[in-house]
C-alpha cells in the first residue's frame, strides 16, 4: 500500500490556480523527487497536503496517509501527524528556525509533542539527534541560538528536529538551495544515509535535476501546477518523454566535452492567472502543434511507472 496518496489535489490563491489536479503517490521507504521551476507548485503540493498553506488558499482533492484522509482533517489530528508521521524541512534553514529560542529547546519541543519526552530525557535525546545528524560538540550546541550557527549547521538542526518524531515520511523542500555547494553534498548524503537507516520515505523537492538524480528513485516533473512526467530516475534520464523534461536536461551543463552554450528553454513560465488553453508548456515547446492547445493532454503510459502528459509523447507511442 502507498504511504501517501495524493489525488486530484488543486489549490488556488484567489483567482490564480497554483495546482491543477496533482496525482502522486509515495511508497513506504522510497525516495521521490519533485522537480520544476520555481512557482510550478512542487512546494505548494506538500504544504497543501499537510494543511500548511495560509487561510486564503482554496484546497480541494484528496490526500491520504496510510489510507486515511488527511486533507481538511481537524487541527488536532493534523498537529499530531505533522512533525510526527510526516516531517518537513525547508529551503532557508537560518530563517526557518526561531531566532529567539535555543536550538536544543526547539528540538526538545518536537520531542515533547510527539514522544512525550521532557526535561533531561528530552535534552539527552536532542543531543543524540544532534550527534546523529553530525553536529559537532552536540552538548554545547544545544544551548546555541540559530544566529550562532552556519546555514549548513542550521539545516542539520532542522533535520534533527524533523527526525524527533520518528517520521515515516520526510519532505525536504529545496533543502540545499541556500547552502554552499560543498555543504549541499554533505546534506544530501546525510539525508540518504538517514533514510536508509531509519527506513523512512523521502520527498525531495528541488529545481535541480542533478540533485534529484543522485538521491531519488523516482521523479515527478512539474510545470505550471501539473505533473507533466513521472518516471523511475533511470528511465527518465534514458528516455525523457515530455519536451519540458528534455528541455530541463538540455539545460544541464555536460560534465565533459568541449565548452558549449547551454540550451535554455525559450520564453518564461506563464502567469498562474493567465494560463494558455491546453498544454501550459505549448507556447514554449518546439514540437507544439494544434492539438496541444485543444485540451489538456492526458497521461500516457510509456513503460513501467513512466507516464507523461504530452500529445507528442502520445504520438510517439503509436508505432510502438
Amino acid at each position: 500500500m502507498n504511504l501517501v496518496e495524493i489525488s486530484g489535489l488543486s489549490v488556488s490563491f484567489g483567482a490564480a490556480p497554483a495546482l491543477r489536479g496533482i496525482d502522486i503517490a509515495v511508497k513506504p521507504g522510497e525516495a521521490l523527487g519533485m522537480v520544476g521551476e520555481s512557482g510550478c507548485g512542487k512546494s505548494v503540493t506538500w504544504l497543501a497536503a499537510l494543511g500548511l498553506l495560509p487561510g486564503k488558499a482554496r484546497v480541494s482533492g484528496s490526500v491520504t496517509l496510510n489510507g486515511e484522509e488527511i486533507l481538511h482533517a481537524e487541527q488536532r489530528k493534523l498537529d499530531r501527524l505533522r512533525g510526527g508521521r510526516v516531517a518537513m524541512i525547508f529551503q532557508d534553514p537560518s530563517s526557518s528556525l526561531n531566532p529567539v529560542h535555543r536550538i536544543g529547546r526547539q528540538v526538545s519541543e518536537a520531542l515533547t509533542l510527539h514522544r512525550g519526552l521532557t526535561g533531561n530525557a528530552a535534552r539527552a535525546e536532542a543531543k543524540r539527534l544532534f550527534e546523529l545528524v553530525g553536529i559537532p560538540d552536540a552538548q554545547r550546541r544545544l544551548d546555541a541560538y540559530p544566529h550562532e550557527l552556519s546555514g549548513g549547521q542550521n539545516q542539520r538542526v532542522m533535520i534533527a528536529m524533523a527526525l524527533a518524531g520518528r517520521p515515516e515520511l520526510l519532505i525536504a523542500d529545496e533543502p540545499t538551495t541556500a547552502l554552499d555547494v560543498t555543504i549541499q553534498a554533505q546534506i544530501l548524503d546525510l539525508l540518504n544515509e538517514l533514510r536508509r537507516e531509519m527506513g523512512m520515505a523521502l520527498v525531495l523537492i528541488s529545481h535541480d535535476l542533478g540533485v534529484i538524480s543522485e538521491t531519488c528513485e523516482r521523479v515527478a516533473v512539474m510545470y505550471a501546477g501539473r505533473i507533466v512526467e513521472e518516471a523511475p530516475v533511470q528511465s527518465l534520464f534514458a528516455a525523457p518523454a515530455h519536451p519540458y523534461t528534455r528541455g530541463l536536461m538540455a539545460a544541464l551543463p555536460p560534465i565533459d566535452g568541449p565548452r558549449q552554450k547551454l540550451n535554455a528553454i525559450p520564453g518564461s513560465v506563464p502567469e498562474p492567472g493567465n494560463l494558455p488553453p491546453g498544454c501550459a508548456f505549448a507556447p514554449r515547446c518546439g514540437l507544439a502543434r494544434a492539438a496541444c492547445s485543444a485540451g489538456v493532454p492526458s497521461d500516457v503510459m510509456l513503460g513501467a511507472g513512466h507516464r507523461a502528459a504530452c500529445v507528442v509523447a502520445q504520438d510517439a507511442m503509436v508505432p510502438a
Binding site: 505533522r82 512533525g83 525547508f90 526557518s96 528556525l97 529560542h101
Partner: protein, 310 residues
C-alpha cells in the same frame, strides 16, 4: 557587560546634562521672572531687590555655573513664589501624576496588546477593521479633545462621573481613560503590524510543520518575536509616566507634576521648571535604558552585540 553599562551611563548623563543646560538657557533668555512675579506695576527698587535676592542680576554664566554646582550637592533651588525647595514641590506632586499614568499604562497594555494580537490573527475580519478604525481614531484625536468629549458625555450629559478634581478614585476614571485610549490605540497598531510581520516568517511555518498547536505557535513562537518592536513603544510610554499627563491634568484640574509645570512656566518659576525637566529627562533616560535591557533579554542576537561593548 561592564563596558556596555559604563557607555550607557555616560550617554545617559550627557543627555540629562544637555536637557538641563538647554532648559536653563531658554528659560533665562525668554522672560524676566522678577517682572512676572512682582507684577507689572511694582516699583523698580522692589524688582531690583528681587533680582539680587535670587541672583538674577548676575551674568547668565555665573548663574549657570552656580546652578550646575548646586545640582551636584543635591540642591535644586527654591520656588520664587513661596520659597519652598523646588524638589519638595515637585516630589509632592509625583504621587498624583502616577495615580493617573500607572493605571493608564495598564489600560494601554491590557487593551492595546490583546487587541493588536487579535486583529493580526483575524486579519481583514470585521473585528480587525473595527480595531484598526478605533485605533486610528484613538491616536488622531488629541487628548484634550477626547478629554472634553468624555466630560461632555459622562459628566455633563449622563452625570455619572465628576468632570475634574481629585477627591476620590471616581475622579481619576475620565483622565485615566483619556490617557489610556490614545496609547492603547498606538500599541494596538504596533502590535498588529509586528504580529503580521512575524506570522509571515518561515520559522512560524516550521513550528506548525513540527506539530505545534496553533495557540502555542502564537504564544510561544510568534509573540516573543513580535515583542521586540513592541517593546520600543512600551519604553516610550514608560518614559512618559511623569510628563505624559500635562494636557490631561490641565483639562481635569488634576494637581500633578504636569499642572505644576504649566503653572511654573507661566510664572517663570525657574527652579521649579528646571526641576520638573530634570525629572522628566531622568525618567526618559531610565526608560530608554530599560528598553535596551529588555531588547537584550528578548532577542539573543542583540545580546551578543551588547556584550561585545558596541
Amino acid at each position: 557587560m561592564v563596558r556596555f553599562l559604563a557607555w550607557r551611563s555616560l550617554r545617559a548623563f550627557l543627555t540629562i546634562f544637555l536637557v538641563v543646560t538647554f532648559a536653563f538657557l531658554v528659560l533665562r533668555l525668554s522672560g524676566d521672572p522678577a517682572q512676572i512675579i512682582m507684577g507689572a506695576d511694582a516699583p523698580p527698587e522692589a524688582v531690583e531687590a528681587f533680582r539680587s535676592a535670587w541672583g538674577l542680576d548676575r551674568s547668565v554664566w555665573e548663574q549657570y555655573l552656580g546652578y550646575v554646582g548646586s545640582i551636584f550637592t543635591g540642591d535644586l533651588g527654591r520656588s520664587m513664589r513661596d520659597g519652598r525647595p523646588a524638589a519638595a514641590l515637585v516630589a509632592e506632586r509625583i504621587p498624583a501624576t502616577l495615580a493617573l499614568t500607572i493605571p493608564a499604562l495598564m489600560l494601554k497594555l491590557g487593551l492595546g496588546i490583546p487587541a493588536g494580537i487579535y486583529a493580526a490573527l483575524h486579519r481583514n475580519s470585521v473585528i480587525d477593521r473595527l480595531v484598526m478604525l478605533v485605533a486610528v481614531a484613538g491616536f488622531t484625536i488629541p487628548s484634550f479633545v477626547l478629554g472634553l468629549l468624555l466630560v461632555l458625555v459622562f459628566a455633563v450629559q449622563l452625570g455619572w462621573l465628576p468632570s475634574g478634581g481629585q477627591e476620590s478614585w471616581r475622579h481619576a476614571i475620565l483622565p485615566v481613560v483619556t490617557l489610556g485610549i490614545g496609547g492603547a490605540a498606538v500599541l494596538a497598531r504596533f502590535t498588529r503590524s509586528a504580529m503580521l510581520e512575524v506570522l509571515g516568517q518561515p520559522y512560524i511555518r516550521t513550528a506548525s510543520a513540527k506539530g505545534v498547536p496553533w495557540r502555542r505557535v502564537v504564544s510561544g513562537h510568534a509573540a516573543p518575536n513580535a515583542a521586540i518592536p513592541t517593546v520600543t513603544i512600551i519604553g516610550f510610554m514608560l518614559g512618559s509616566l511623569i510628563a505624559g499627563a500635562v494636557v490631561v491634568e490641565s483639562v481635569f484640574s488634576w494637581p500633578g507634576v504636569g499642572r505644576l509645570m504649566v503653572v511654573a512656566v507661566a510664572n517663570r518659576d525657574l527652579a521649579v521648571v528646571q526641576c520638573v525637566l530634570l525629572l522628566v529627562s531622568f525618567t526618559m533616560v531610565v526608560a530608554n535604558f530599560l528598553v535596551d535591557l529588555a531588547y537584550g533579554l528578548i532577542d539573543p542576537r542583540l545580546r551578543t552585540g551588547a556584550q561585545g561593548g558596541h
